[in-house]
Symmetry: C2
Subunit: 407 residues, 2 copies
């Protein structure tokens, strides 16, 4: 008998029929004598419908508190439907909202962070034999205001609940059946991984793979919660996201990923003086704009060019801010290139093996793909390239590192 | 400066545009330096949509707790939309759910009764200059489970809030512009009443007029909360529902109403013995079936016929129960007549004037309308008649009591 937290995403609860399928899956786990806590997202499309209502009502300027109160209704609908279906099937089930569990977050509406989950209420109900169905994506702050955790927040709700309840593991059911070596839509030879470490998963998430919310993997790592990523629509074994174990095969490269949501900014002819970089990056961080790769050219006659990447959605704001800064620091001008993307190779084995970077660079060069920027971490190498080469680069790198084969 | 509770029904908040109109009305009252608490229903049709979801998911057998959690989302949507529109207009507004106000009810899901409202939270927010927007129709029980108050429950939410906050009055905005002497769809000469007493309003509600939920008027009477029934769509003065005042003109008859949701049951050839009526009516009350008019014929040779009316929706259940009872008490059989309706005349003046009943009976007789049953209260006389005569009877009675004229 185990305690299992299961999370089902929006496509898995997209209509009543699909919620019935979820109920059948939950019932099966219960029948095997496990305690089950289920975390649900809103029906696919419902959160977007509510967002449109809010934006339509306020010329795209909804109050954040009220916005969270509004969009959190989506999960309230799915959890009560699942609980009533389970009860109709004869299982004692009960839905709980973030406010009823007491999922306490900070007060950052729209992107709140979970600070504390009180496990007693759920433990008591589980002790009475109940299946507990919890609204994902939502919590309350200390004053009892409803908060939401941001896109993909239900993953984080599930992992945080698993941590608070010391569950045996957390299953994330989604519309893909696991974590792949790369996006199967890009490369037919993508292979499903049976296991991946938290650190690799975090790099994959940063590098553009959208299987799990980044924050949920951070929490899983922090509290050592094993995560199974599985399909809602079949009974495949999925991928286990877990800590690095001594007996784990350290794959040199476990995945290739790409991120097209990238734009490149170059501030040209910047005086190469102390404090200039600060003048450029501080106003961006004050607006919560995330800067990813940064390179600075070698200085020529006291001037340099500074190049970095940001998310495409931020590009207009960045341009406005930096046109002002450029004048102030007497740089020549600010150039934008929105036609770039980032490809990354990720693997725990890089820690102890050299040669991955050079193999990556020469593979891209052989196909005539110019590398515009490079950034690295202990277990990841990313290159900015022209966007039109994205899929080609992914396939080349997947092939050159032989990811289709189990290593 | 007054404290005003305003309630807007489902048609008044039917879409974003209508919610904007509500915001403008609320803002106007605020601009006149009043404190305002707004109570909203769900968008027209939304509660029905949620009910269909629940029924579809469970073969019409949803768990009551989960059903209430589900349908209460409708009001959460409208209150957050109104609050964000008001904020966008520059007014400090805040939405509060039943659980946030702390509207405490008993645990009768789907038809909960408000037991207590804690006024402190709202008082504090009003003291800070806020407009408070409260979800109607919902509360929580002592365990924090979401409950709903039943159809029309938002009226009751509004009046209960007005009572708890000792508001100066409660305005109920709806799709009619007041309380009429009769349904204007039945008689073109129906006249809007400027004032009516709680007792008359209660009798009107029992007798089939659907302007206010019965329970809301009971509460208003108990706590002496003046109610203005007004239109959401024009600025007319509406009808004031208030206590009987010494200077109030006591209208002999203030309204005529009809109720087509009636069916007549006759248990034929019942042994006229002590305890027989109990055997008939106890099993009905145990199923919460409300019996309205009752008549018992004079006994002939130790046998009598017992006739009464119930709501049409209950007729199949009543028939099943009574077929069993009839066998048990050795009555001959049970007859049903679903083609009846009830017409009623209501007026505070009946208390001190005789002659209303005879005037009513003779007016109906003149038109050849047979009276099948009669029931009376201090301020109401009701007659059961053939359903096909309903509208005709209403018009005749309206005319004979000269209700089109201000008395």
């Amino acid at each position: 008998m185990a305690l299992i937290v299961q999370k089902y995403g929006g496509t898995s609860v997209g209509d009543t029929e699909k919620i019935r399928n979820v109920a059948a899956k939950v019932a099966r786990v219960r029948d095997e004598n496990n305690d089950v806590v289920v975390v649900l997202s809103a029906m696919a499309g419902e959160t977007d419908r509510l967002i449109r209502l809010a934006e339509g009502a306020t010329d795209n300027d909804p109050d954040e508190r009220e916005y969270d109160a509004l969009v959190s209704t989506g999960e309230q609908v799915t959890i009560s439907l699942l609980a009533m279906i389970l009860k109709k099937m004869g299982y004692p089930a009960k839905s709980l909202l973030g406010s009823q569990v007491k999922i306490i977050t900070d007060g950052s509406y729209g992107k709140a962070r979970i600070e504390k989950i009180e496990p007693d209420r759920i433990r008591k109900e589980l002790g009475e034999g109940k299946i507990i169905v919890v609204a994902g994506f939502q919590g309350i702050d200390e004053q009892g205001n409803i908060t939401t955790l941001g896109r993909g927040g239900s993953d984080t709700s599930a992992v945080a609940l698993a941590a608070a309840l010391q569950a045996d593991y957390c299953e994330i059911f989604t519309d893909v059946d696991g974590v792949y070596t790369t996006d199967p839509n890009i490369h037919e030879r993508a292979r499903k991984l049976s296991k991946i470490t938290y650190d690799e998963m975090l790099e994959l998430a940063s590098a553009g793979a959208k299987v799990l919310q980044h924050r949920s993997v951070e929490l899983a790592k922090l509290y050592s919660v094993p995560i199974y990523v599985r399909s809602s629509f079949n009974d495949g074994s999925g991928t286990l996201v877990t800590k690095e174990e001594s007996d784990m095969e350290k794959e040199l490269v476990s995945g290739v990923t790409c991120d097209k949501d990238q734009a490149k900014i170059t501030v040209i002819h910047v005086p190469d003086q102390p404090g200039v970089a600060e003048k450029i990056f501080t106003p961006l961080s004050e607006r919560n704009i995330i800067v990813d790769m940064i390179i600075q050219n070698a200085s020529v006659e006291g001037y340099t060019d500074l190049t970095f990447t940001v998310s495409r959605k931020d590009i207009d704001e960045v341009k406005t801010i930096l046109d002002g800064v450029a004048k102030d620091i007497e740089a020549r001008r600010v150039d934008c290139d929105e036609k770039i993307s980032k490809v990354s190779v990720i693997g725990l084995g890089m820690k102890s093996h050299s040669g991955v970077a050079s193999k990556m660079f020469s593979a891209l060069a052989r196909e005539g793909i110019n590398i515009m920027m490079i950034s690295t971490s202990e277990i990841k190498i990313s290159c900015a390239i022209k966007r039109k080469y994205t899929e080609l680069a992914v396939r080349i790198l997947h092939d050159v590192f032989e990811l289709e084969k189990k290593q």
